[in-house]
């Protein structure tokens, strides 16, 4: 569905963990068009500082209420300003953008396995919601640095998702990484379909495991963006070239992705 430019209104803004915020926006037309894994380009204020919008995934899509929810880390200048937005404030954004998680090919046989690292949990919730509507809520394998970076677990559980958490310091769930959770293949006899979102090193590690084990796998990528529309070519990533004689080509994370089948993705060394 085509994206649109709209002025949203902040309905809720809450710090759910130190530095991590959950924001509900009134954006009926976006909510009606959006699919899990898509994102929006949000302006954090009306001025020139910062100049560019920030890409943030849709963490919840409620077409009935006409709302979208963002889950974000106040990481730098722009998201820190976003975190100061108050209820009632207007925030312009455009979206929904990009190609989200692919569900069609997987419909029949697969068991959805959400593999999240840190704030990478954000775009997986609406996917789990969609799977749970198909009565196949799946399993969440969630890695984080410590308990202070574990979010949205209850929302997954409410959907019937089985949740397994690993933290590096052991302050929540088992001590270890998300790859340790994956090692245990907690899906038994079922064929897993991995949906992966998180920091780049984690994406690479999971990708490598999936390839070695032959698991189906989709990966959500991040790149610096200007337009989010496929126009500026800022946000490219390397993907397998279809043309002969070429190892890779540049795809646009914003419109060809952000979600790719792992087989498409070519990592830089």
């Amino acid at each position: 569905m085509k994206p649109l430019l709209t002025k949203t209104v902040v309905l809720e803004q809450e710090q759910i963990q130190p530095g991590f915020f959950r924001m509900v926006l009134s954006a009926p037309e976006v909510a009606q068009r959006a699919e899990p894994g898509q994102f929006v380009q949000i302006r954090v204020n009306n001025g020139l500082d910062p100049l560019l919008p920030r890409p943030i995934s849709l963490h919840d899509i409620d077409p009935l209420k006409g709302t979208i929810t963002l889950l974000y880390h106040s990481a730098g200048k722009g998201t820190r300003i976003l975190a100061t937005a108050v209820v009632g404030q207007e925030l312009p954004l455009w979206g929904p953008l990009g190609k989200g998680w692919k569900m069609t090919e997987a419909e029949e046989d697969f068991l959805p396995i959400y593999v999240a690292g840190g704030i990478g949990i954000a775009p997986l919730l609406p996917l789990a919601a969609a799977w749970s509507r198909r009565e196949e809520p799946g399993i969440l394998l969630y890695g984080a640095r410590s308990a202070g970076q574990v979010m949205a677990v209850r929302a997954f559980e409410a959907l019937g998702v089985e949740v397994q958490v690993a933290t590096e310091d052991g302050s929540f769930g088992m001590m270890g990484r998300v790859t340790d959770l994956l090692e245990q293949s907690p899906w038994g006899e079922r064929r897993p379909l991995l949906y992966v979102c998180g920091p780049k090193p984690m994406l690479k590690a999971v990708h490598k495991m999936a390839e070695a084990k032959g698991w189906a796998c989709q990966i959500s990528l991040e790149e610096r963006m200007c337009c989010g529309l496929g126009a500026c070519l800022s946000c490219v990533c390397k993907t397998k070239a279809k043309a002969a004689g070429k190892a890779w080509t540049h795809s646009k994370v914003c419109t060809d992705g952000p979600v790719f089948w792992s087989g498409e993705v070519v990592w830089d060394e």
């Binding site: 649109l4 430019l5 610096r224």
Partner: protein, 303 residues
Amino acid sequence: MSNLAVNLGGLLMKNPVTTASGTFGFGVEFAPFIDLNRLGAIVVKGTTLTPREGNPTPRMAETPAGMLNAIGLQNPGIQGLLEEHLPPLQSINSPVIVNISGNTVEEYGQLAEIIDRTEGIAAIEVNISCPNVKQGGIQFGTVPASAAAVTRSVRENTKKPVIVKLSPNVTDITEMAKAVVDAGADALALINTLLGMAIDIRTRRPVIANVFAGLSGPAVKPVALRMVYQVYKAVSVPLLGMGGISNADDAIEFIMAGATSIAVGTANFTNPRATMDILEGIEAFCLREGVRDISEIIGAVHH
């Protein structure tokens, strides 16, 4: 309603608002937000003879009221453009301008020759100033004789309007302007990006993989406006002004400095409707100030 139609060196535009190459893709990307038919013209992404993958990432960094880009002319090549991207634009009622870059003077001529025999392309914008390409690029844009040679090569291969796009990274922009006008340019576009860089102090490496990158956006507006003002005084061909235009007031500043048309670049990223907002703002200004024909205010600051 005021008359906003302008003639940019033989290219008739129904209004002065067009898009800056590389910031507007191939036009259709913005179709969800605006009516492309309302644009005075559409300038598409820079095109080369053969396809290019461009530079590695990061290619972009935000700066105060500006941005750096080092896309490195990623594009599907002229054939890709003609086959894939031009057809969807044919139903649009706005002239299409193709922005071209070559590695050699001859390549510019070849590109011009291909475009000359292609229907549906109204004019050529010659990029002699892309700072993100190692080969040639910057050299053509900063040496008058080279810029003139490129212009002549294009001129000899087309009857379509030739708009030469100047680099701001020069001591004297009027010298460049005169050289390319003498070599046959019908109009001049300015400015391309200022050469800049940024450093990540944590990694102690340049932020942009390519090290250097082009600065655009509101930050550069005062420099761009000054150059349009200077070039207007120096040559008599019409000018396509750009560099940091974010709203109608900015656009009118450029027109008053001497621009016949203006291009919206980085502002497309901060507001996908920027072109329309600017067009409507120019219309409102003309109405309010009793400007019956946009030509009344082109270069007004010089009068």
